[in-house]
Amino acid sequence: MITATDLTLTFGKGTPLENPALRGMSLTVNQGEFVTVIGSNGAGKSTFLNALAGEVMVDSGKIIVDNQDVTKLPTYKRAGSVARVFQDPLAGTCEGLTIEENLSLAIKRGQRRGLSAAVKGRYLEQFRTSLASLNLGLENRLGDKMGLLSGGQRQAVSLLMASLTPSAILLLDEHTAALDPKTASFVLALTTQIIEQQKLTALMVTHSMKQALEVGDRTVMLHQGQVVFDIAGKDREGLEVKDLLELFEKQRGLEITDDSLLLG
């Protein structure tokens, strides 16, 4: 479970470029929930995820992950309970390392690292089984450099890496946005499959309202650094993009002008 209370964060404070990214963001994600997060550019989606992961420190507010206050902890100290997949398919893996080395890095996420061999024989069977479930033939390429893989393949492996060890929450930051449509739907299907199978708690930021309603079991919309609406269960069933837009306008008295949200 993860609880964020009243988060505020302003970039470039005291400069002409001052930009309040989070203005009292609060959100609680319960164990086993799969929440999709939408919002236009500058709504604070990525900043919120970065704040949860520890990549940026909030100015005020509190972040509790699994009953532990992590507000002041740097990324690497939170990594044991927070798993991540980045938007950039190249960001989640090391291209100069082999597939098995990347997976071996991920299997020790948040744990002490010693001087024993990083790639252990007993890991390999687990790696092969996990990779085989991707149906990309990667199970026979454990020794290949990550850089030889395509963006979609690398993103699929990133997803696998994020789910190799248990975490309190899995953060997905528009992780299909940089892929071509076919690969994007493959990675999205894989995402829902892994989350369902392992009963993961996940927060997925997406740019597409359609995608936000199709997957997951709760949808949150951010606007100007705050949650503007939060729907789950019966309210969310059968909802379409135009319903979301109406909801948004009703709540805010605003009209959505960001085309990418409608077209996505």
Partner: protein
């Protein structure tokens, strides 16, 4: 073309610079941390070892102390970068400059002669070998040990975390790797190796001198880049082997250039030759691949 003594001498210094190249491989390649501390940590290693040896300390212990001193210097550079957010290159220049004074303080004078002292090499002269082969044998063993240990380390959990830190720090943090600590450890390790090289160099040359560090970074880089040009560094063990091969080739090339009478080069031309060799090492692989590309295109 080369006399026996000049040949073995080139191999000997080549092996020592192989250790420097290991260090530069860790900072420049593994961590992507351009570290110029080596120009100071090389004479630091020499100074510490020399002072302890003339005080009667066991030469291997003195050499060990030089390694630790080098690691300390590296740690200072890394901490300036990690804790005080000083640009890595600048942090290393600050440490390098400071070390010049520190080295003078340690030695108490600009140079210390070791010709009459017992060094790590002394017992080995009892072996039935030619005089100039002895350092080559000992340093080969040291370099091989260093290569195997570094190779094992780079394959360990911590070593892999260090490689990830240099290659993709954001990903490394997300995997729970304390990237700051990895930079401190890596730059310390790198300068420890350079300190070792300085200590061995002083003992084989018979003196420690405060100016002996000038240009060590360039020679180390020349070795690294030259080795990579000869042996494509597709794996850790190949990259480490490339460091040693590069350093030996570099010293042999220098010895040849200086010995070739028809070229008319003299010792003072050393830095010019170094610059030319480094330029060639950087440019030639690109020329080779573009020639290959042109040839294969013509075929198609």
């Amino acid at each position: 073309m080369l006399s026996n003594i000049a040949f073995y001498g080139a191999i000997e210094t080549g092996l020592i610079y192989g250790l420097v190249a290991f260090g530069i491989y860790i900072s420049f390649r593994v961590l992507d941390f351009p570290d110029l501390t080596v120009d100071g940590s090389f004479p630091l290693g020499a100074a510490v070892a020399a002072v302890l040896i003339i005080d009667g300390v066991n030469p291997w212990l003195a050499t060990g102390a030089a390694v630790i001193a080098g690691m300390g210097a590296g740690a200072v550079t890394a901490l300036l970068n990690v804790k005080l957010n000083i640009l890595n290159l600048l942090a290393s220049i600050l440490t390098m400059i400071a070390l010049y004074s520190v080295n003078l303080r340690i030695m108490g004078r600009p140079n210390i002669a070791l010709l009459t002292e017992e060094t790590v090499l002394t017992p080995w002269y009892n072996l039935d070998l030619e005089f100039h082969q002895v350092p080559v044998l000992l340093f080969t063993l040291v370099v091989l040990a260093g290569l195997v240990l570094l190779w094992r380390f780079m394959k360990s959990e911590t070593g892999l975390a260090m490689r990830a830190t240099g290659a993709n720090p954001r990903m490394a943090r997300a995997q729970g790797i304390a990237t700051g600590a990895m930079i401190v450890l890596g730059v310390a390790l790198s300068n420890g190796l350079v300190g070792l090289a300085g200590a061995l160099f002083a003992q084989s040359q018979g003196a420690a001198d405060v100016t002996m560090g000038v240009g060590v970074i360039v020679i180390g880089l020349a070795s690294l880049i030259g080795g990579e040009a000869v042996l494509t560094p597709s794996s850790v063990v190949r990259a480490l082997t490339a460091c040693v091969i590069g350093a030996i080739i570099y010293r042999l090339a220098i010895a040849l250039a200086l010995n070739a009478d028809f070229l008319g080069l003299q010792a003072q031309d050393l830095n010019l030759i170094t610059a030319v060799l480094v330029t060639l090492a950087i440019v030639l692989p690109g020329v080779r691949s573009s020639v290959v590309a042109r040839l294969t295109r013509n075929k198609a």
